[in-house]
C-alpha cells in the first residue's frame, strides 16, 4: 500500500477511504456503546447487595420484548467489535496481515452474520417459550 490518497475506484490505503475506514468507525462506535453498557451493567448487578427484590425487579426489565431486541443489538455490537478486534490483532502481528486485511474484513462480516443469526434464533425461541405476556 504505497498510495497516499484514495482515488475514486482506487484501492485507498490501509486506513483511509474504503473498508479500512468504515471498519474503524464501526469499531469505535461499538467500543463506546459497550463501555456505557458495562457501566450500567455493573450497577444493576450490584443490586444483589441491596436486596433480592431490588435485583429481581430491575433485572426483570431485561425480559421485556423491547429489551430482548436491545440484547440482540448489544450482542451484535460485541460480536462485531470482538471479531474485528481479532482482525486488527492479526493485521498488526501476523506477517501476511496487512496483505489480507480486506479479505479478513469479509471474513469478519460473514462470521458476524452467521453468529448473529444463530444467536437471534436461539434468544428469540427461549424468549417466546417462557414469555408470560405483558
Amino acid at each position: 500500500m504505497t498510495q497516499t490518497k484514495s482515488t475514486p475506484g482506487g484501492r485507498g490505503t490501509l486506513y483511509k477511504g474504503r473498508e479500512g475506514m468504515w471498519s474503524w468507525v464501526g469499531h469505535r462506535i461499538t467500543g463506546v456503546g459497550i463501555f456505557f453498557f458495562l457501566l450500567v451493567h455493573v450497577l444493576d448487578t450490584s443490586l444483589v447487595r441491596v436486596s433480592p427484590e431490588a435485583y429481581n425487579a430491575v433485572i426483570g426489565a431485561y425480559k421485556h420484548p423491547i429489551m430482548i431486541l436491545g440484547e440482540i443489538g448489544l450482542v451484535g455490537a460485541i460480536v462485531f467489535h470482538a471479531f474485528n478486534g481479532l482482525r486488527i490483532i492479526l493485521v498488526d502481528f501476523w506477517k501476511q496481515g496487512t496483505r489480507y486485511h480486506r479479505q479478513m474484513l469479509w471474513a469478519v462480516l460473514i462470521l458476524w452474520l452467521v453468529t448473529m443469526v444463530a444467536f437471534s434464533v436461539r434468544h428469540l425461541m427461549i424468549f417466546f417459550e417462557g414469555w408470560e405476556g405483558f
Partner: protein, 169 residues
C-alpha cells in the same frame, strides 16, 4: 573487499539524515517517556482484547444460550454462580480487563476529539473517576455477596437459592 570506504557509505555531506534526533523541542508533541506508556497501552489493548473474547463469549453463553436463557436470570441464579469460585474469578477478570480496556479506549477517543487542553483534562478526570468507582464496586460486590439471606427469625428469605436450605439448617 574488507576495507570499508567511509566516503561511500556517508550520505550527502553536511545534510542531517531525517529523524536523526536533533528536532527542535518546540516541534515535539510530547516527552519521550510518554512513548513507552503508549507502547504498553497499545500492547495491553491487544492482549486484553484476545482474552475478553473468551471471557465475554462464555459469559453470554452460560447466561443467555443454555438453560432457560434470559428467563433464568434472577437473584438465585447469581447466587448459584458465585457459590463457585471459578465464576467469581471469571467475573473478576472480566470486570477488570473490560473496564481497563474500555477506559483506555475511551481515553484515546477523548484525545482524538477534545482539542482544548482544559476540555481533555475535564473529560479524562470524569472518565478515570467513573472507571475507578465501577471497578471497586464490582470487585466488592463479587466478594461481599451473601446468597443465603435470613430474616430476623432466622428463616430463609423466599428468594434464596435452594442450596441454602442445606447450609442454614
Amino acid at each position: 573487499m574488507t576495507a570499508t570506504n567511509s566516503e561511500a557509505t556517508l550520505p550527502a555531506q553536511g545534510i542531517e539524515a531525517p529523524r536523526s534526533g536533533r528536532i527542535d523541542p518546540k516541534y515535539l508533541r510530547s516527552n519521550p517517556s510518554k512513548g513507552a506508556f503508549e507502547m504498553w497501552a497499545w500492547l495491553f489493548m491487544r492482549i486484553s482484547g484476545a482474552a475478553l473474547v473468551i471471557l465475554i463469549f462464555v459469559h453470554l453463553w452460560t447466561n443467555l444460550m443454555v438453560g432457560d436463557g434470559i428467563h433464568q436470570i434472577d437473584f438465585a441464579f447469581v447466587a448459584g454462580k458465585w457459590a463457585n469460585p471459578v465464576w467469581q474469578f471469571w467475573d473478576l477478570t472480566m470486570l477488570w480487563l473490560a473496564m481497563l480496556h474500555g477506559t483506555n479506549g475511551m481515553r484515546t477517543i477523548i484525545n482524538d476529539y477534545a482539542e482544548k487542553d482544559s476540555t481533555r483534562l475535564a473529560l479524562k478526570s470524569i472518565l478515570y473517576l467513573a472507571a475507578a468507582v465501577i471497578i471497586i464496586l464490582g470487585t466488592l460486590v463479587i466478594f461481599t455477596f451473601e446468597p443465603c439471606l435470613v430474616d430476623e427469625s432466622g428463616a430463609l428469605l423466599e428468594y434464596a437459592p435452594s442450596f441454602c436450605e442445606t447450609v442454614v439448617n
